[in-house]
């Protein structure tokens, strides 16, 4: 499907049709979700043999199961016979999965073990026909991703330069991360709102979440915020930082010095980890702590909420959010992280509640003809992208309030929606990057009549 008439990523103009159209939505399930790497589980969610959880790739339910040998398998949670949902629990431990319709019984690896009376009614139980549909898997530092697509690049290559930034979230500490909580809820809005925002939107925080910042600032007996809190809030009034975009639509952004933190326990712990994290990842990556999204819908924030957004029609999404904490952190630190997340970024959280209303109203208004006719403006830091600048791999812009990652995300979305096979897309993206690098090099080289230098 050609959605380019709605998306002009170079000019930063995008029409609301892509958030509203049922026809586009149906195509997204095939072209976007079935062709991308999607988050399925973390090792700590299914630690023991037989442990399973259900997740989704788009609208397709997937069972992710720890095998006897410690490996992980994942398969479509659907009986091959009549398409019934094989397992109806969200999580648990199982020795096998029996379909509750006719009793077909599958192993934890998705192979059909038995169909009742099969010796009398089937010629054979050919595994190629009867096996549950398998997912191609990758395990990146404990985070398990899956795809149906056999032609998309291996996961690390799919991440590209984003891997360097992803590590600032998931490889920050020896021992990695572990799950400490979960929330699932439904929002009446298009899934792309919760892909675009974690990719590219630090800008909304000051206003969308103004109420939470107001009440969470601690006050001394004299009624004034302590110096440490003023310093944190200063990041909002004097915003400085970066945003990164990847050719495959991933994005991230951060304030210089990290996210403003209002919880003193967490702030002190965060500061106490600087030596360890800097030794592990380098001093430059200690500060990379903000918002991020792996296209299409695996998002994370520096407070260690990790979420996948599942599409449910053009005007509805499910958010599945896991609270995670460094596995080797002290118990009181893990507890502070768990409590901070449920009080801020959960359906009852003081930040999260307000995002819901913005997205609901944004979605509702897209029903209008004029609301979809005139393009929305995605032009922050337009024309300011550089490659491999300031020690940051890949394409960045030098401001924390930017829409480079949104433009990059929608460019990749349009690429995928075109239906071109992955090898062609990779060539296209390579050529695009080479052209951009050449243009930047030409602009930077001393021309005979150069009027001015860099516009930084």
């Amino acid at each position: 499907m050609d959605v380019s008439k709605f998306i002009d990523a170079e000019k930063g103009l995008i029409k609301g049709e892509i958030f509203h159209s049922q026809e586009i939505y149906e195509e997204e399930l095939e072209q976007v979700f079935a062709r991308s790497w999607c988050f399925l589980a973390h090792d700590s969610m299914i630690p023991e043999p037989g442990d399973f959880m259900q997740n989704y790739i788009g609208e397709d339910p997937v069972l992710v199961v720890r095998q006897e040998d410690g490996s992980v398998k994942a398969f479509l949670n659907q009986c091959r016979h009549r398409g019934m949902r094989l397992c109806r629990a969200d999580l648990g431990n199982a020795k096998n999965f029996m379909c509750s319709f006719h009793g077909w019984n599958y192993g934890i690896d998705g192979e059909l073990i038995n169909a009742p009376h099969s010796d009398q009614i089937y010629e054979s139980l050919d595994p190629d026909v009867f096996r549950a549909t398998q997912v191609r898997l990758a395990n990146y530092k404990g985070f398990i991703f899956g795809t149906w697509d056999k032609t998309v690049a291996d996961f690390e290559e799919y991440l590209g330069d984003f891997a360097w930034y992803f590590d600032a979230y998931v490889d920050r500490f020896e021992g990695g991360m572990e799950v400490v909580g979960v929330h699932k809820w439904v929002l009446p809005a298009n899934w792309k709102f919760n892909a675009e925002q974690p990719s590219s939107d630090m800008y909304h925080g000051e206003v969308s979440h103004g109420s939470a910042f107001q009440v969470m600032v601690p006050l001394s007996a004299a009624g004034a915020p302590p110096p440490w809190a003023m310093e944190q809030l200063g990041k909002l009034s004097q915003p400085a930082g970066y945003q990164f975009t990847a050719p495959n639509g991933h994005g991230t952004g951060w304030f210089n010095g990290g996210m403003p933190l209002m919880d003193e326990t967490i702030l002190k712990w965060h500061q106490s980890t600087e030596t360890e994290v800097s030794a592990r990842l380098g001093a430059d990556r200690f500060a990379i702590a903000g918002h991020a999204n792996i296209f299409p819908t695996f998002m994370m924030l520096s407070n260690y909420t990790f979420r996948v957004t599942h599409p449910r029609g053009p005007d509805e999404m499910e958010i599945w959010a896991w609270s995670m904490a460094p596995k080797n952190a002290a118990a009181e630190v893990k507890e502070a992280i768990r409590l901070d997340l449920l009080r801020t970024f959960s359906p009852a959280g003081m930040f999260e509640q307000d995002d819901a209303v913005n997205w609901e109203e944004e979605q509702r208004i897209m029903r209008g003809h004029m609301a979809r006719k005139k393009p929305l403006v995605y032009q922050q830091m337009l024309g300011r992208a550089r490659y491999d600048a300031d020690g940051l791999p890949g394409k960045t812009v030098p401001h924390v309030y930017a829409e480079e990652a949104a433009r990059g995300m929608y460019q990749h979305y349009a690429d995928l929606m075109s239906g071109k096979p992955w090898p062609d897309l990779e060539k296209l993206k390579k050529a695009r990057e080479q052209r951009e690098r050449a243009e930047l090099a030409a602009a930077a080289s001393p021309a005979p009549k150069a009027a001015s230098g860099g516009s930084q």
Binding site: A89, V182, H183, L187, Q214, S323, L342, P347, A348
Partner: protein, 191 residues
């Protein structure tokens, strides 16, 4: 086979299932207290509502997920793990203060709620002035032009007699939402 540990079933504890053992007068006082609390919430008198909380209040709402029958006792996440609320008095105070900033967009413009409280059952405890009280709630909400939703569940309270206008304080509250995945956009009220 292990028998499911009934104690982990929040809504199946023996003390909750036991016949009510408070006097009619106490039962009436407790019911009227819960109705007054609901009235304060629906009237947006959140500071007065907050004043009903004991200084040591714990306001907790665990998350639940769908489990196979043999793991039913694990449906509810235990204390210290996944929860929608896990609040002390100070945190409840922050939530209330937020509603009056005029920038709490989930409640600005304000939603209209109706807290319907029913199935109240009370039991005595070891302490003469404290009662274990269960009640069901149906919070109906409308907001903006067309939004409406409902949140239904059951509460397990420890009420303590107090020298205030309504006669009790809430010393402990566990809110059990009936939904597993929340089919609402947010939980912007109190339950």
């Amino acid at each position: 086979m292990n028998k499911p540990d009934k104690v982990t079933h929040l809504f199946k504890r023996p003390e909750h299932l036991a016949p009510v053992n408070v006097t009619m007068e106490t039962a009436y006082e407790i019911e009227q207290f819960l109705y007054a609390e609901a009235e304060l919430l629906d009237a947006w008198e959140f500071n007065d509502w907050l004043a009903l909380m004991a200084a040591d209040v714990h306001y907790w709402a665990p998350v639940r997920e769908n489990r196979m029958a043999r793991e039913a006792e694990q449906e509810m996440y235990p204390p210290g793990t996944a929860a929608h609320f896990d609040e002390n008095l100070q945190m409840l105070g922050q939530r209330v203060a937020r509603l009056y900033t005029h920038m709490s967009w989930s409640e600005s413009p304000a939603s209209r709620t109706r807290h319907l409280i029913s199935n109240v059952r009370a039991h005595t405890t070891d302490k003469a002035d404290e009662f274990q009280v269960q009640s069901s709630f149906h919070v109906y909400r409308t907001s903006s032009e067309r939004h409406q939703d409902s949140v239904v569940g059951r509460r397990f309270d420890l009420l303590r007699r107090a020298d205030n206008a309504y006669g009790f304080q809430i010393a402990d509250r566990t809110v059990v939402f009936d939904m597993s995945m929340l089919l609402v956009k947010n939980l912007s009220s109190f339950y």
